[in-house]
């Protein structure tokens, strides 16, 4: 086994927390059951890793096997990366998409290898019709850097792909080209949507975040929901603003629905608007040029936070459509200009 491969596998296994180790190794399916049984996972981590490397050497792990382990690790730790969303489009009057996974993989790999001699491309298919692609980039003269790969998750027969944000921006156009041509599209565009939570991005992009539907079979009518006010409260207590509270609750429910919100960490608004002021003769008001300003809202769970603003009394209901349109418009980066 190549030293670089051994080192690569070692560093990957070292990243894996001990409690996940057996699960990930089983998903990797490279070491056999018998081999895994010989390992004492209760030892110190360094000893476990040594033993595993030894077993990998026995089985002559290749770079591909190591790359596959890296993909699996990343699949288990998706939140460690920030994901961008790309949308592809076909020309008008295109034929029906007869997606062939083998053809796609071959085509994708060939395009990259033709452009850059040194590149490692690995694939792993998942059950939700997605293929995870790992690309380690080299140049014409240098070997691929296995420690700074780019991941692409492509959902076949859809125009959408998710790419892990990386600092190596120069390869993005080539990657886009490879993806577009291999999937038989014409164009690729980056959407103004970014998050660490791949599942939430998928829910937003595929418009699958609201999956509650009214049917005749549902036993609990959708109208039945607690207004958030404690109905078991003492009847001697009267809410002063109950009418207002109910109005706010109703508007919040209409805007955000009853379903769990997809998880985003921020929303960014770039304003390029002229200064508007009530005071005449203000210096800023006389400027012809628009002011540029950046507003960023951050939260561990932005949409749930926005949903709770009006009921908590911090903001008026209805909220600004700029905030509530995020999942619907599938963007959390906005550029606002004067019309």
């Amino acid at each position: 086994m190549d030293e670089t491969v051994a080192e690569f596998i070692k560093r990957t296994i070292l990243k894996i927390p001990l409690n996940e180790l057996t699960t990930i190794l089983k998903a990797w399916d490279f070491l056999s059951e018998n081999q895994l049984q010989t390992v004492n996972f209760r030892q110190r981590k360094e000893s476990v890793v040594q033993h595993l490397i030894h077993l990998c050497e026995e089985k002559r792990a290749s770079l591909n096997d190591a790359a596959l382990l890296d993909i699996i690790y990343t699949q288990f730790h998706q939140h460690q990366k920030v994901w961008d969303v790309f949308q592809m489009s076909k020309g008008p009057g295109e034929d029906v998409d007869l997606f062939d996974m083998k053809q796609f993989k071959n085509s994708f790999k060939k395009i990259l290898q033709r452009a850059l001699k040194n590149v490692t491309v690995s694939f792993r298919e998942t059950e939700e019709n997605a293929v995870w692609i790992r690309i380690a980039w080299g140049t014409q003269y240098t070997k691929p850097n296995q420690y700074k790969p780019t991941y692409v998750v492509y959902y076949s027969q859809t125009p959408y792909a998710f790419k892990s944000s990386s600092t190596l921006r120069r390869n993005t156009p080539l990657l886009g080209q490879a993806l577009t041509i291999a999937s038989k599209h014409h164009q690729i565009v980056k959407m103004d949507l970014r998050s660490r939570y791949l599942d939430s991005l998928k829910a937003i992009v595929f418009k699958q975040y609201n999956q509650t539907f009214e049917t005749h079979n549902s036993t609990t009518p959708l109208q039945e929901r607690s207004l958030g006010l404690d109905i078991n409260m003492d009847s001697r207590i009267i809410h002063e603003n109950i009418v207002e509270k109910e109005r706010v609750q109703r508007i919040t429910q209409e805007t955000f629905g009853d379903y769990p919100q997809p998880q985003l960490e921020f929303a960014q608004y770039k304003l390029e608007t002229k200064f508007k002021s009530d005071l005449n003769g203000s210096i800023l008001a006389e400027r012809e040029e628009p002011l540029r300003c950046l507003i960023k809202f951050s939260s561990p769970h932005l949409l749930e936070a926005l949903k709770s603003l009006a009921p908590a009394g911090i903001a008026d209901a209805p909220l600004s459509p700029l905030l509530t349109c995020i999942p619907n418009k599938r963007k959390n980066y906005f550029k606002i200009r004067d019309k």
Binding site: D97, D100, K102, Y155, E214, H216
Partner: protein
């Protein structure tokens, strides 16, 4: 015995006369009393008798009144009871009606297209089926506004919902729904065939089934006699018509590669025709039956 002599000397005669008068008076009052007593008694008797009669009368009246009242109460009860049973019957009838309606609404699922009114429009439910098997359901929640728009839905991403909506939603909603039903039913049917092939006929496949999300490109290798010496066949099925459950293009090749004997060539060509005309799992079912038949002939 001294004879009462009225002519007796005065003293003796006065005593005699006055006493005599007194005696006569007493006699009279006594006899009057005696004659009066039975009279008063009689009167009293008469009085009491009338009283008794009155009381008896009253008693009879009251008895009659009680009887009458009892009778009328009974009549009332008799009247009321038939009313109550009518109410119970009505309630049962209503419950039965409700169950019927619920059953009818559920039965709408079997028509493939049903809906429920919502506060903003209608939630349409498309129930797909293939060969009499009820498969997945998909929902489209429509907002009835101008323009008509889709609020949210559970249609898979690879079904061209936006295209169909762009063509028909605003102009002809029936066409929109039927077109969407077509696509979804065809997709469900193709998926069902591929799933059945993978689950029921894995023994005849020599490698994994290659499929894509829309199940419109299937590629697999199979052998008619799993343990035997024959060459496996490679089949590639293309479904270019997304509203159909049968392939538009079928290529069957033999992995042997070299020129095949005529019998193999015939088989290959017949398989191609079979895949074009019959659902995938049925073709494999016929392969399995033939295999069983062959086996039974051999043994």
């Amino acid at each position: 015995m001294e004879q009462a002599n009225p002519l007796r000397p005065d003293g003796e005669s006065k005593g005699g006369v006055l006493a005599h008068l007194e005696r006569l008076e007493n006699q009279m009052s006594r006899s009057r009393k005696q004659s009066e007593e039975p009279q008063s008694v009689q009167a009293q008797e008469r009085v009491l008798g009338t009283k008794i009669q009155k009381l008896r009368h009253l008693r009879d009246d009251l008895k009659a009144a009680v009887r009458h009242r009892r009778g009328s109460v009974k009549a009332c009860i008799a009247n009321v009871e038939p009313n109550r049973t009518v109410e119970v019957n009505e309630q049962e009838a209503l419950e039965e009606k409700l169950e019927n309606v619920k059953a009818v609404l559920q039965a709408y699922h079997f028509t493939g297209l049903s809906g429920k009114l919502t506060s903003r429009g209608v939630c349409v439910c498309i129930n797909t089926a293939f060969e009499g098997n009820l498969l997945d359901s998909y929902f489209v929640d429509l907002v009835i506004q101008k323009p008509l728009r889709i609020h949210h839905h559970s249609v898979p991403v690879f079904i061209p919902l936006e295209e169909i909506a762009a063509k028909y939603l605003q102009t002809n909603i029936q066409h929109f729904l039927f077109s969407l039903c077509e696509y979804l039913n065809a997709y469900s049917g193709r998926k069902y065939q591929a799933d059945r092939l993978q689950s029921d006929f894995a023994a005849l496949l020599t490698g994994p089934l290659q499929r894509n999300p829309l199940c419109n490109l299937l590629s697999f290798t199979y052998k008619l006699d799993p343990g035997g010496q024959s060459f496996p066949f490679c089949a590639r099925l293309l479904y270019k018509d997304l509203t159909a459950t049968l392939p538009t293009d079928v290529t069957v090749t033999c992995q042997g590669g070299e020129a095949l004997s005529t019998s193999w060539e015939e088989q290959r060509a017949s398989h191609e025709t079979l895949f074009c005309t019959k659902p995938l799992h049925q073709v494999f079912a016929s392969f399995a039956r033939r295999e069983k038949l062959d086996m039974s002939l051999v043994s």
